[in-house]
Every structure is written in C-alpha cells, then in structure tokens.
C-alpha cells in the first residue's frame, strides 16, 4: 500500500522533475565541463582541448577586471539591499494606517517592479541624459547644477538609484503584508505595560517582522547578485568598466570582444556558486518558516 502510494506520488512529480533535470542539471554539468576547456567561439568544437583549472587561475591571478567585477557586485548588492530595506520599511509603515484611496495608491507601487527591466533602463536613460534629461532639468530649475549621471564616476551610483527605485516597492509590499498580518494581543499588552512607540517598534514590530524581513532581503540579494538586464540597457557595463557587474563580465569574456567561452564559463561557475550560497540560506529560512507557520 505504502509503496503503491509512493509510486503514485512520483507519477505526478516525475514529468516536471525529468524536465528540470534535462534542462537545468544537464546544462549545468556541461557548463562545468566547458569551464575546464579552452573553447572559444572562433574555433570548432573538436579543436578545443582540456586545460584543467587554468581558466580559474586566469580569473584569479591575471584578470584584474574579474576582481573588480566581484568587488562592485558585492558592493552593489550590499548598498542596494540596505537602501531598499530602510526605504521599503519606511514605505510599509507609512501605508500601515487608514488612508483614503489606499488601494489605488498601492497599485501605483507595483508599477516599478512589474515593468520589463530593459524598458526600465530605457526610461531612465531618457531621464538621466545630461543635456535633454528631465532630472537635470528639474535640478537646474531648483538652481542646482547639472549632473553627468552616466559619467565614469556617477554611473555606478545612478545604477544604484535605478535599482532602488525599481525594488524598494518590492520590500515595502512584503513588509506591508507582514505588518497587516501581525497579531494584535502583544500590542495591547505593550500599551497596558506603558511602552512608548519607539519601544513598541524596536522590541515588538521588528522582531515579529523578522522572518519576512529575512526572506525579502535574501530574495533581493540573490536578484542583485545576478543583475544583468537593467545594467545592460543603461550602461552595458561602462563607461570603461565602471558598472561591469559579474554578469556583465561574463558577457564581455564570452561574447563581446574575446569569445573566450571557457573563461566565461569558469566565471559563470563562480557566479553560480555565489548565488547558490545565498539561495541555500534563503531556502533554510523558508523551510523553517513553513514548518513553524503551517
């Protein structure tokens, strides 16, 4: 009986599982293999040879741009996720009250995160242009000078600005849902005990929201780590390599100038490793929440 049930369960799951193994696991193993060869796009597949870990050595010891991309990717992730958290929590608290027409205002918050990311890069390119952009127009109307938004020093920060605009509502919506679902009793007890709003926020609201916060931040970190579309549309990693995040570096190694697929694959394996680390932490949190909550 038990065995039959198990077989029945697998008959539902197997089609999906087989598809995923075929389209994800097999290509991933293939990626590891390619990362150990010197294959590049200009040669025939048979001409490549096995070079062991040499591509990794190249990235670690010769390719300064690799370390640059790793550094700015981690920095980008840390800065955007922190800013989005602080602002997102602020927005969530702001909306956590009776507001006239709240549904309509909340709908507006959805806009930045559902619009196609490459289209977002177009919108911002339009607005960030030094000569004809509306941001510099507003700045000059306010008597402030123009900013070369996509210049060598500024582009990285403009990218952070765009990412914060795009994803702050994401954190806000998740934390807002969390706030709405908080139990009432601890708050009543805290008021009876004479707690002030500050104490209530730091000793009650934040700890109660903690699981939501962790899940939201991890989801954002994983996304920031693998960011490609918006950077590509906005700066393509430039000027120079000022905004060359890791995905952009893989693109440059493998496709843009050099066609070094082997080296690009090695870098892709490293990116995969980094995102797997974060994903493991996320899944552990989700799993604990699922067991605790349900």
């Amino acid at each position: 009986m038990r065995k039959r049930k198990k077989r029945e369960a697998y008959s539902f799951i197997l089609p999906s599982l087989a598809t995923l193994v075929a389209i994800v696991i097999f290509p991933t193993i293939f990626l590891w293999y390619v990362s150990l060869t010197n294959y590049d796009l200009s040669m025939g597949w048979e001409q490549k040879s096995f070079v062991g870990p040499r591509n990794y050595f190249f990235l670690f010891f010769e390719d300064k741009d690799f370390w640059h991309s790793l550094r700015i990717t981690l920095f980008f992730t840390a800065v955007t996720v922190s800013l989005e958290f602080v602002l997102g929590l602020g927005v969530a608290l702001l909306f956590h009250r009776h507001i006239w027409g709240k549904r309509v205002w909340m709908s507006c918050l959805i806009l930045p995160m559902v619009i196609t990311p490459t289209i977002i890069s177009l919108i911002w390119k339009l607005m960030l242009n030094t000569e004809y952009g509306v941001l510099n127009f507003i700045l000059s109307q306010l008597g402030l000078g123009k900013i070369n938004w996509l210049g060598p020093k500024e582009a990285f920060w403009s990218l952070i600005l765009v990412d914060v605009w795009e994803w702050t509502p994401f954190i806000a919506l998740i934390l807002y849902a969390g706030l709405q679902a908080l139990p009432q009793e601890p708050y009543e007890a805290a008021v009876v005990d004479g707690a002030n709003p500050r104490q209530i926020f730091f000793y009650l609201t934040l700890p109660l929201l903690k699981p939501m916060i962790i899940i939201a931040l991890l989801l954002r970190s994983i996304d920031a780590l693998k960011m490609f579309d918006v950077v590509y549309g906005l700066t393509q990693g430039g000027p120079g390599n000022a905004t060359e995040l890791m995905s952009l570096h893989i693109y440059r190694l493998g496709f843009r100038h050099t066609n070094w697929i082997g080296r690009a694959s090695a870098n892709a394996v490293i990116l995969l490793f980094l995102s797997t680390l974060l994903t493991t932490v996320l899944l552990r949190t989700l799993r604990r929440e699922r067991l605790g909550g349900a």
Partner: protein, 274 residues
C-alpha cells in the same frame, strides 16, 4: 495637541503623495515623451503639448515591433501552458502525498528558480548551436520552463493545500479515479489560483531579457531585446524609444493589476500568503 495631530496627518499625506509620485513619474514621463514630436522629445522643459501618435506609427512600421510582439506572445503562451500543465500535476503530488525526502526535493526544485541567467546561458547557447535550435521560439520556451516550472509547483502547491482534502477523499472512496478527482474537483476549485499562477508566468517570461538576448537573433527575437536598438546615445529617436517602452509595458501592467491580490504571494513563491 489637536493641531499637532493635524500637522502630522498633513505631513504623512504629503509623504504618501511623494512616494506615489516617485513610483509613477518615470512611467508618466515615458508616456509623455512617446507622444511628443522629435524636437519636443529632447526638450525637457515642455510639459504641455499637443500629443502626436507619430512615434507609435513609426515603431510599428519601421521597427517591426509587431513581429517582436508576436514572437514574445508565442514563447510566453507556449512556456506558460507547459509549465501550468506539468507544474500543477507535480504540485498535486507534493500537496497530497507523503514520501521520504519530499521537502528536500521540493526545496531543490525551488532553488532552480534562483539560477542566475548568465550562469546558464552559456550551456544553453552551445547546446542550442549544436542542435540547430538557436533563434527558434521552441528553444526559448523550453529554457523558460527552468524558472516557470519551479514557480508553478510552489504557487500551486499552496493553492491545492488550501482546499480541504476531505472532498477528494470522499470522491476516492466513492470509486472516483485520481484523474477524475483532479479534473472534477481539484482543477475547478483552484481555478483562480491557476489563473493567477499563469499570469505570473506570463509576466516573468514576457520580461525576461538575458536568455532571449543570447538565444535569439532575428526570427524569434522578443520585445525586451529591442532595447539593443537604443544603446548608443547618438542618434536615438527618443520618442520611438519611449513608444516601444509604452507598448511593451501595457500588457504587463494590465496583467499585474489583475493579480494584485496575489502579488506578495507570487513574489515570494507562495511562502508568504497575504
């Protein structure tokens, strides 16, 4: 005291207005730019003008936007249909059966949803080349299953677990087959969930860029890749760029408002049910 309260209320209203304005302004600005003439478009001082549809006419006539929309639609519909079919079956398996290491398998599947596109695109590109499948709709639709199936399984699992199991058990005892239970009970009861999940799959697939960019070149090119027309700063026709943006955004926005109720759930793969 009461005047302090009024002030606080006014201040909060202003803050909310500010947040909403910041969220929608870029989109509104794009909409405005798309309705301007070529000369007006590069003048940010113009806020009031007579709208023209010239930019829309030229993106459809000169830039083949309709072809890209068609390609996107084919890929999106194919991948969504397959994901919903396979994913819902698997979700039922996870929701209604117990077997050893079930959660390990389920969470492993979820982890696939997080794969960085730039990490998987190289093998997809090479395999597509060997198989002669580069620049075809079917390759892109299959590749998109890698994030759509895990998503569907997790969303649908939540929706199925929400319907009481007793109805199905009663039907099974009455001699219904599993298949009949699925088609007569589970599917009808989770129809809103299926619709919401499908819409999320549509949005994710419609918006995907990295994979589409490397795996298609002309025949199967999708809407997000049109960004490459507008990469150089020189010679960009701003109005056309904005018009492409508006046309690409409208379906996504329409769909997003339909599933607004499930948004938090969708964004967290069913982990947080608000």
């Amino acid at each position: 005291m009461s005047s302090l309260k009024t002030w606080k209320k006014v201040l909060l209203s202003i803050l909310i207005a500010l947040v909403v304005a910041v969220c929608i302004f870029p989109f509104v600005w794009m909409l405005m730019t798309s309705l301007k003439t070529r000369v007006q478009a590069i003048n940010p001082a113009i806020w009031i003008f007579t709208p023209t549809l010239e930019n829309y006419r030229s993106v459809f006539q000169k830039r083949d936007l309709l072809l890209y929309i068609k390609n996107s639609a084919i890929v999106v519909v194919t991948t969504t249909a397959i994901s919903i079919f396979l994913g819902t079956l698997a979700a039922y398996g996870f929701a209604r059966f117990h077997f050893s290491r079930k959660e390990d398998v389920a969470f492993w599947i979820l982890s696939l949803r997080m794969l960085p596109p730039m990490a998987v695109v190289i093998p997809f590109f090479l395999l597509g080349r060997f198989l002669g499948l580069l620049d075809t709709h079917i390759l892109l639709a299959i590749v998109y299953l890698s994030f759509n199936i895990p998503f569907t399984i997790w969303m649908m699992r939540g929706f199925i677990e929400e319907i009481p199991q007793e109805i199905e058990e009663a039907a099974l005892i009455d001699g219904c087959s599993r298949l009949r239970v699925l088609t007569k009970i589970v599917f009808p009861l989770t129809l809103p969930g299926i619709a919401a999940t499908a819409i999320f799959c549509v949005i994710q697939s419609w918006n995907e860029f990295a994979l589409a960019f490397f795996l298609t070149s002309f025949n199967a090119r999708t809407v997000p890749t049109t960004v490459t027309f507008f990469l150089s700063v020189m010679g960009i026709i701003w109005g056309e760029m904005a018009a492409v943006g508006v046309v690409a955004s409208i379906p996504v926005l329409a769909f997003a408002f339909v599933v607004q109720k499930y948004l938090v759930r969708g964004l967290t793969f069913g982990a947080i049910k608000s």
